[in-house]
């Protein structure tokens, strides 16, 4: 049973020579069985795997093997056996230094990112606060420090342990499955320059091994590479992964007449009505909405006839609406508005000699504005309501001023016109003391 002969069983279970031969009953077909069925002759020795009963026995054996000068060996246990590092002479890992470097990089990069983005490339004024202030930037630098330290720790552990490594020669031994359960193993590799099959086996048995197994691998290196179909699948997946990147690159490098493709259109394309346009969202197909029957817009009721239309019981109002008080302030306001809106035609004195009739005359035309203050003028005889209505809606060639002049101002103008009439037609005896006729 010591030669790597015809099938897996031969090297799967090996009895250590010195103790009474008790062939191990370990005859299961594990994952290795599909490797060696035909070609036992092609197999070469990978190493020896010795099993021990207790963690303590493993430590003692590791010390012996190390003291014998072996370097290419390792111990396998279901949990970290404390004390084995010293026995095997394992150098303390450099991982903490690597993590420290990773943490510093995180601190530096996180701080640089914030400075560059917020203080340099796009200094954005938020409520007048400084664009670069350490306290406000501490939390993110803190988090990036930890993040990069963690990533360095995790992937540094992978790299140092050469993980992932889903296959190892010892996995061919069924017994090795106990290394993650209740077994304590010491494996010596045949590549060690002190390795000698028989002597090393003796050494392991003497160290207290309960079993020593020989482990063989296929001699052809190509048999130990990854199966072709896995490589092919990885190649195909890699190619497929490049496609989206290539499409993005093509989109950036070429021009197109088409609008952007909107995954989420948000409010970019909402149905929207513009006035006097067709609009299919409404039943009548028009964008404009008419007034609703029986409704009045807020502030548009204007139910007070006297104030808004100068009417009282269907007749022109002769007095004033209650809202209008004939004070000198209102008359002054009326004068100001009159001089702006009325004087260009009717003249500052109301006699109809404004700048526009004058200009008409200069150009050879013949038109005069109504004389508002002549004793015989219709205006003098007009009730206040009718005068208000004329200002609001116009008369003959005069246009209405309702759109330009608010209601209060129109009543103020009415009052001022009455004042003009009175002053233009006053007798000398009616003048207040101190006034003089010009």
């Amino acid at each position: 049973m010591t030669t790597p002969a015809t099938d897996d069983e031969s090297h799967r279970a090996e009895t250590p020579p010195p103790p009474p031969p008790e062939p191990s009953s370990d005859g299961g077909n594990g994952d290795g069985s599909d490797h060696g069925g035909d070609a036992g002759t092609d197999e070469e020795l990978h190493g020896l795997l010795a099993e021990f009963d207790t963690p303590g026995a493993l430590i003692a054996a590791a010390r012996k093997v190390k003291n014998a000068g072996f370097t290419e060996f390792d111990c396998y246990s279901p949990f970290p056996v404390h004390g084995i590092d010293a026995a095997m002479g394992i150098q303390r890992t450099k991982l903490p230094l690597l993590v420290f470097a990773g943490g510093l990089a995180g601190l530096f990069l996180g701080t640089l990112m914030q400075w560059w983005m917020n203080a340099y490339d796009w200094p954005w004024n938020v409520a007048g606060k400084p664009t670069w202030s350490i306290p406000a930037n501490v939390p993110i630098s803190y988090e990036t420090t930890i993040l990069l330290s963690v990533l360095t720790t995790f992937f540094g552990m992978w790299a140092a342990n050469k993980l992932p490594q889903v296959w190892h020669p010892f996995f061919r031994l069924d017994r090795f499955a106990k290394a993650t359960d209740d077994g304590f193993f010491l494996g010596v590799e045949a590549s060690d320059k002190r390795f000698d099959l028989e002597q090393t086996k003796q050494l392991l048995v003497a160290a207290g091994a309960s079993h020593v197994d020989e482990c063989y691998v296929d001699a052809r290196p190509e048999a130990r590479t990854m199966p072709r179909w896995i490589l092919a699948a990885m190649a195909v997946l890699t190619m497929l992964a490049v496609i989206p990147i290539a499409l993005v690159y093509k989109a950036r490098a070429t021009k197109s007449n088409q609008p952007h493709y909107h995954v989420f259109s948000d409010m970019d394309f909402q149905p929207k009505a513009k006035s006097d346009q067709p609009f299919t969202e409404f039943a009548d197909g028009r964008a404009n909405r008419g007034q609703l029957l029986g409704t009045v817009a807020r502030g548009a009721l204007k139910a007070d006839d006297a104030y808004y239309r100068g009417l009282s019981g269907g007749q022109w109002l002769t007095g004033l609406p209650v809202q209008v008080e004939p004070t000198s302030a209102v008359i002054d306001r009326g004068q100001e508005r009159y001089n702006i809106y009325c004087a260009p035609c009717h003249g500052f004195d109301g006699a109809g000699h404004g700048i526009i009739p004058e200009r008409m005359a200069m150009l050879g035309g013949a038109w005069e504005a109504r004389n508002l203050v002549d004793r015989g003028s219709v205006v003098i005889k007009m009730p206040n309501g009718q005068l208000f209505n004329t200002i609001s809606n116009g008369n003959n060639t005069m246009m209405g001023y309702a759109a330009q002049i608010p209601v209060d101002d129109r009543w103020a103008i009415v009052l001022y016109v009455r004042a003009l009439e009175r002053s233009q037609n006053a007798a000398e005896s009616e003048l207040p003391p101190g006034a003089e006729v010009r």
């Binding site: 207790t54 991982l95 359960d181 995954v263």
Partner: protein, 461 residues
């Protein structure tokens, strides 16, 4: 296999002198791998079905939210942060116990943690996953959430790193990454155990790829243990920073009730409190259902209850100090906010919070309450109800009475708020049940390492 636990205790009687010193290791292996590799237990199917139904609620609620808009929630102009942010803070808080158990208790050499750390870490990751949904859907247009990641873009814009909301992005994503890597790295040796115990070829391949080909070599263990220690040391400040950063969202604002320096430690204590309550809620039933009473021992549950008393008292103390500070500061707005919190229209929520978080954990002073599984589970659930209300009280009552009467308002949830909350529990439980079924729920290698048999046969020092 069924008697392996007995074998383990026999072997434990005399390290190295029992009939087979390795029986204890074998017992642990078999008891834990049986859960992942054996037939699916009967209780698992109905539990998974209910979780899936709840998860469906999340899918429906999110579909309606995305196609319609935030208006489907009860949020309004006054209550801009409502259940969405309450749920976020609640879940991220729960996600603190795992890392605390894994990292802080590891650094303090609390060996009892080895029985619960794996499932607590898994719970952390699933809670962070549930939490991560809320700030993203809360943005209204979640498909632009990637704008939070700094990347060159055709708008020429960069994120605003001076905003606590950006700190959140970095803190949560760092925490999620670290938790996942820590959890996964701890699982690698146990996945190798599952690979070697699995009978079916496809399971061997799947677990074999997941465990990266781990073979438990001493040289690998040496670097692994070092890396694990470093990760623990890195996670400890991280876990304290995450909920502090979350509390900055509130504390750096000017709003009375939020603008206070006690918030970071107050949030961290509450997070640990709720996290342990959730671990207890999950593990107390799980240890019976999976037959792991001899690994997750009663003393471990008791230890968690004691931590709940401690953190519950811290949280209670924070409520008191917060109130005192509001009064002592002489700030009328602060004092008004706190009086309103206690006596206003949300007083029911405030007293719910105080009774669940301060009074309920006091029962854990009694050994009878700590050792009765029913009482532990019920009290733990009540604590988490209270912790949910704590976040709701902080958010809703502080927003309900802002400076102008025009900014006064009450929050009433809609059915979509409720469905989203239920759905987040569905996501959490679905992920946890999948974990409990297919992955090593106990840190097998770590538990073996703290058995007395782990020192069998060594020279006496």
């Amino acid at each position: 296999m069924a008697t392996s636990s007995d074998a383990a205790s026999e072997a434990g009687a005399g390290p190295g002198h029992g009939p087979d010193p390795r029986a204890a290791f074998r017992g642990i292996t078999n008891d834990v791998t049986r859960v992942a590799l054996g037939t699916t237990p009967k209780w698992w199917y109905p539990a998974f079905a209910v979780s899936n139904l709840m998860l469906l609620c999340l899918v429906v609620a999110l579909y309606h939210l995305f196609t319609t808009g935030i208006g489907v929630w009860g949020n309004n102009n006054v209550q801009g942060w409502a259940w969405d942010i309450t749920n976020f803070v609640f879940w991220i808080g729960i996600g603190h116990a795992g890392t605390l158990i894994s990292a802080v208790l590891y650094l303090f050499r609390q060996e009892w943690r080895t029985s619960i750390n794996r499932s607590a870490e898994a719970m952390t990751i699933f809670a962070v996953a549930a939490a991560g949904i809320f700030p993203i859907i809360h943005t209204g247009r979640p498909w632009f959430a990637w704008w939070l990641i700094p990347h060159p873009n055709d708008m020429g814009m960069w994120p605003q790193f001076r905003s606590p909301l950006m700190w959140d992005v970095f803190a949560i994503s760092t925490y999620a990454t670290t938790s996942i890597l820590f959890w996964y790295m701890g699982m690698v040796p146990d996945l190798a155990t599952l690979r070697d115990k699995a009978k079916e070829r496809w399971k061997q391949i799947a677990y074999g790829l997941l465990c990266l080909g781990w073979r438990g070599s001493a040289r690998q263990w040496h670097r692994y243990e070092r890396a694990y220690l470093i990760l623990a040391a890195l996670s400890t400040p991280l876990v304290l920073s995450v909920h502090s950063v979350v509390s900055f969202d509130f504390a750096t604002s000017q709003n009375p009730g939020w603008h206070t320096t006690i918030l970071p430690p107050y949030f961290v204590a509450g997070a640990i409190f709720s996290g342990f309550a959730m671990v207890a809620t999950l593990l107390v039933p799980l240890r019976y259902l999976c037959g792991l009473q001899h690994i997750i021992k009663e003393s471990h549950i008791e230890a968690m209850c004691k931590i709940m008393i401690a953190t519950g008292l811290m949280v209670g103390g924070a409520y008191g100090i917060e109130l005192f500070t509001a009064w002592y500061s002489g700030n009328a707005a602060e004092w008004f906010t706190f009086r309103n919190r206690i006596l206003g229209e949300y007083s029911w929520a405030y007293f719910m919070m105080v009774s669940c978080n301060v009074l309920v954990p006091q029962f854990f002073w009694f050994k009878k309450c700590r050792t009765n599984p029913w009482i532990v589970v019920i009290l733990s659930i009540l604590i988490n109800v209270g912790m949910w209300f704590e976040r709701f009280v902080i958010i809703a009552t502080s927003l309900a009475r802002q400076a102008l009467p025009g900014m006064w308002g009450y929050f009433s949830p809609t059915r979509w708020d409720v469905l989203t909350l239920i759905g987040s529990f569905g996501l959490f439980f679905t992920l946890f049940l999948l974990f409990a079924r297919f992955l090593p729920i106990i840190a097998i290698a770590e538990v073996k390492g703290v058995l007395p048999e782990a020192h069998a046969g060594k020279d006496h020092h």
